[in-house]
């Protein structure tokens, strides 16, 4: 029995470490405020509940033992889960005891997040002893629940999980959704409480039920379809359903500013810009399989190029000055040039190092991006780039007398280009070029040997990706109105990479979803901002370990994975033939 509980103990200790981490890194306290459902469920408490639940969920996971999947039964699951959960609480209590013993004021100069508020949160305001008891007992209860939960059949569990996730998401979007409902003149008081700003209990239950039912329906269908043999043809354009989905998405996207107002439009404008970048990176990394770590360079190039070509000014100590080199072109003419520059730089930068192995190529792209930022910041190029202060008065992209000054209008401008980029991506995926990229990605040597000019196709990938990225940069400059090197640090490249990888490398819908999750959510969920990059980092690691194909995997790659390897075995054929013959002979002998 002791050995049997070991997974629980391990998971519990890990979960406890996570709890301590969340506390020390400052998340528990920073997240406390927001009320999600009623006045009882707050975001901080949700975060507090998560470690024991997750630990037990993990402890009870099915394992492959001796060629079979072994799933602990409900009794074992309960015990394991309770052990794990209680341990999480115990670790937390030990941490609390330590804090009490040393004293908050003495820890704080080192661990800045240790504060009276943190102790208050962890003890539920009831003093150390009671707090510790609550942590352990509550942990055990939550753990037991998590264990049982995992033991429930997948087909039942999944829909409820989706339902819960929907509730939490809606609750977190409390600054946006009620506003939208008002805008639509829909009754909202049953769903969102005016007092707590979060969901009402009634609302939460209704949402839970509806979302669970919907998820059950969809998941069931999908399961069945996955079991059926794969249909022929281009699955991405198959059927009216996809068309309908795309249409709905476009209509929704188009109506967004009307529905959601300018805060959301503002956020979505930024998301759109980054989506462009992500779509560009998706071509380089997702389609052609080359990791690009310096994609922000195109962002920078596009932004500076458009600023310089359309007559932006330098910020100097003596006021605004025209840069050393500049032009005063029409924005759309300039855009054509910018796209061309992006493509050219993309290809030229990559050309000399294409022969390098993937990871080295990645580091070189990073190096180029760093060079670009340093140069843009330097005093040397200051007469052109404006140095750290950069350029301002970037054009507002006037079109037929209309300026894209407001957040709503800018949103439409970006949306138009995003749709264009999505369209291009889609067409590319199924074109000859797309097939060549596929071959290259799967096995470059073989592709090379089959006569695919891999070097040329790689450059093409970099060029197209660069063009789209530069386009994003240009729009970013228009949106912000100023261009400063600080906006193009390496972190932007990694953000975009995280978007593409979370969504699913090579999957256009995935990239869109990735952008929404990683870029729109932090903007919409208050106070997440501070931990945004922490979360990006964790997402990158977690996705690579748990689900490298991303949220919405690329269809074609899925099929590649499903294909079984067939092996030829001469011995097997011969022995099988022989057995058949013997059987036939026996039958013949027995006959007369």
């Amino acid at each position: 029995m002791r050995g049997a509980l070991r997974p629980g103990a391990r998971a519990g200790l890990v979960g406890g470490a996570v709890l301590v981490y969340l506390a020390l890194v400052g998340m528990l306290v920073k997240f406390e405020e927001l009320r999600l459902v009623g006045s009882q469920v707050t975001r901080g408490r949700l975060l507090l509940v998560l470690p024991p639940f997750a630990a037990s969920f993990f402890a009870v996971r099915p394992r492959v033992i001796g060629g079979r999947v072994e799933q602990p039964g409900p009794g074992v699951a309960l015990a394991l889960g309770a052990v794990a959960g209680a341990l999480v609480g115990a670790v937390g209590s030990v941490g609390l005891a330590l804090v009490e013993a040393i004293g908050v004021e003495r820890i704080r100069p080192v661990f800045v997040a240790v504060s009276p508020a943190l102790v208050e949160t962890l003890t539920f305001g009831r003093g150390a002893a009671a707090g510790a008891a609550i942590l352990v007992v509550g942990g055990a209860a939550l753990g037991a629940a998590g264990g049982i939960w995992r033991a429930i059949r997948h087909g039942l569990r999944r829909p409820v999980e989706v339902g819960l996730l929907t509730v939490v998401t809606l609750a977190m979007l409390q600054r946006i959704v009620p506003f939208m409902l008002d805008e639509l003149r829909l009754e909202r008081d049953w769903l969102y409480s005016r007092a707590t700003r979060g969901l009402t209990w009634t609302g939460a239950v209704v949402v839970l039920v509806v979302a669970t039912a919907a998820a059950a329906y969809v998941l069931d269908r999908r399961e069945r379809r996955a079991l059926a043999p794969a249909a022929e043809g281009r699955p991405e354009v198959r059927g009216w359903r996809r068309t309908a989905l795309v249409t709905i998405a476009v209509v929704l996207a188009a109506a967004l500013p009307q529905l959601a107002g300018s805060i959301v439009s503002e956020i979505m404008g930024t998301v759109g810009v980054f989506l462009l970048l992500a779509l560009g990176l998706n071509i380089v990394t997702g389609y052609a399989g080359m990791l690009h770590l310096g994609f922000s360079a195109f962002f920078l190039i596009g932004a500076y190029a458009v600023a310089l070509l359309t007559g932006a000014n330098l910020v100097t100590a003596f006021g605004l000055v025209a840069p050393r080199f500049s032009a005063d072109l029409n924005f759309y003419l300039a855009l054509v040039l910018v796209v061309a520059i992006g493509a050219a730089v993309g290809a030229l930068v990559a050309a000399p190092v294409l022969r390098l192995r993937g990871d080295y190529l990645a580091i070189v792209t990073l190096a180029f991006a760093q060079i670009a930022v340093i140069l843009a910041t330097s005093s040397w190029l200051q007469p052109i780039t404006g140095g750290p202060q950069g350029l301002r008065d970037v054009t507002k992209a006037p079109l037929l007398g209309l300026e894209f000054r407001s957040a709503e209008r800018f949103y439409y401008l970006v949306l138009a280009f995003c749709v264009l980029a999505v369209f291009v991506s889609w067409r590319l995926a199924w074109s000859r070029v797309g097939r060549a990229w596929n071959a290259m990605r799967e096995d470059e040597q073989v592709a090379d040997a089959m006569g695919v000019p891999t070097g040329r196709y790689k450059m093409l990938g970099f060029a197209i990706g660069g063009a789209i990225g530069a386009l994003g940069g240009a729009l970013f400059a228009v949106k912000v109105g100023t261009v400063q090197p600080g906006s193009f640090e390496i972190i932007q490249s990694i953000t975009v990479l995280a978007v593409v990888i979370l969504g699913g490398l090579g999957s256009v819908p995935g990239v869109v979803l990735g952008a929404l999750v990683l870029l729109a959510l932090p903007g919409l969920l208050s106070q997440l901002e501070e931990f945004r990059f922490l979360i990006y980092g964790a997402v990158l690691v977690a996705i690579m370990i748990l689900r490298p194909q991303g949220l919405i995997p690329n269809v074609r790659r899925m099929r590649e994975l499903r294909e079984e390897e067939r092996t030829q075995d001469a011995w097997q054929q011969i022995f099988a033939a022989r057995q058949e013959r013997e059987a036939a002979e026996e039958a013949a002998e027995a006959a007369p």
């Binding site: 390098l356 990645a362 060079i371 340093i374 005093s379 040397w380 990694i494 990059f533 990158l540």
Partner: protein, 363 residues
């Protein structure tokens, strides 16, 4: 792969060769000319605008000292690359962790006067603390982020490492705050000592001595001890190494431990040299050290040391020498450009590095 395919590929490469040669030759001539011109102009500036001889000497010494620190970090990249064939992008954060971990002790000891009373002991203890912190981070990194990915396609661990790097940076930011902090220095280490008649910053002397000792110790361990031999064997063929009875998982952990120790030492030396630390301090030295590892030949210990020194010197001498003469203002802003250009040029001309093999190139 079939015979035919190999032949086709070989033919393809032969065909490509000449253009590549021509471009590379032209490029090398161009780079050479630019370097020569820049240096010439700098060295022939009128007396008033010129750097004095002692200024050059100081650049050089600083370059060697920071190069020694880069070498220590570079070894971490090289060791891990050697055994896992992965660029441990988060190694810069391992280095940062050491510096940060020791900071709180340094700060407290400065306050209590211990740092000034027993400087040698204090610095030694700081180095040990930094090593412990860095090793902890490195080992956790391996255990949590990299071990589940053994045998995954190459880019997967790289992306993971990038994620881990971001995660670690922001973890330290969350734990200890975002501000840059001044790293205290024992008072004895202010000023200079005269070595062979040359005045050298005292901190730099310490840096060189500590780094030198660490390098020699590492070389001996890897070349002479059984653990070292196991490390080399596992670097060449993990499966066969385990067939010899070598515990490969343990060897990998050992590698991260050694890399972490060196990074921890580097963290303290770096903090003492430059005087401040922040959660973001790992990035630039990390990339620089990686460049040094590639320059020296990744997987090679001597290469990391040589590469580190070269990069260190080029960073401190290069911008002044090449750019002052052609009137580029504030040339030292561009020192990382020098690093990155070197990285790109090395990969172009000699992907295997100075002492390495053709590891970076495929086929």
């Amino acid at each position: 792969m079939s015979e035919e395919a190999t032949t086709v590929r070989r033919l393809g490469r032969v065909e490509r060769l000449p253009t590549r040669r021509i471009v590379l030759t032209a490029l090398s001539l161009g780079v050479g000319a630019a370097v020569a011109y820049g240096s010439y102009r700098t060295l022939t500036l009128p007396a008033g605008a010129r750097y004095s001889g002692s200024a050059w000497r100081d650049f050089l010494v600083l370059g060697i000292a920071q190069g020694a620190v880069y070498a220590l970090i570079a070894l971490g990249y090289t060791l891990v690359y050697g055994i896992l064939r992965m660029i441990n992008f988060a190694h810069g954060e391992v280095f940062m962790a050491g510096a940060f971990g020791s900071f709180f002790f340094a700060d407290a000891w400065k306050e209590s006067g211990f740092l000034d009373r027993r400087p040698l002991l204090a610095v030694l203890l700081l180095v040990l603390i930094a090593m412990a912190v860095s090793v902890t981070v490195a080992v956790l990194l391996e255990r949590i982020a990299y071990r589940p990915l053994r045998g995954a396609p190459r880019l997967v661990p790289l992306i993971t490492a990038i994620g881990a790097s971001l995660f670690l940076q922001n973890t330290f930011r969350g734990l200890f705050g975002a501000q840059t902090r001044g790293y205290p220095k024992p008072r004895v280490l202010e000023g200079t000592w005269s070595i062979l008649g040359i005045p050298v910053q005292r901190v730099q002397v310490i840096v060189l001595v500590v780094a030198g000792v660490a390098l020699i110790a590492l070389t001996l361990v890897v070349a002479r001890t059984k653990t070292g031999k196991a490390m080399r064997a596992a670097a060449q063929d993990q499966e066969i190494a385990s067939l010899m009875g070598i515990d490969v998982d343990r060897v990998i952990v050992t590698t991260f431990v050694v890399g972490g120790m060196l990074a921890g030492i580097a963290g303290v030396l770096f903090a003492l040299t430059f005087g401040n630390i922040s959660y973001f301090m790992g990035f630039a030295p990390g990339i620089t050290a990686f460049t040094a590892a590639v320059l020296g030949g990744i997987g090679s210990i001597a290469g990391a040391a040589v590469g580190g020194l070269i990069i260190g010197v080029l960073q401190s001498v290069g911008p002044a020498l090449l750019l002052t003469g052609i009137h580029v203002p504030s040339p030292f802003q561009l020192k990382d450009v020098v690093t990155f250009l070197i990285l790109i040029l090395v990969l172009l001309f000699r992907p295997g590095g100075i002492l390495g093999t053709g590891e970076a190139e495929k086929v």
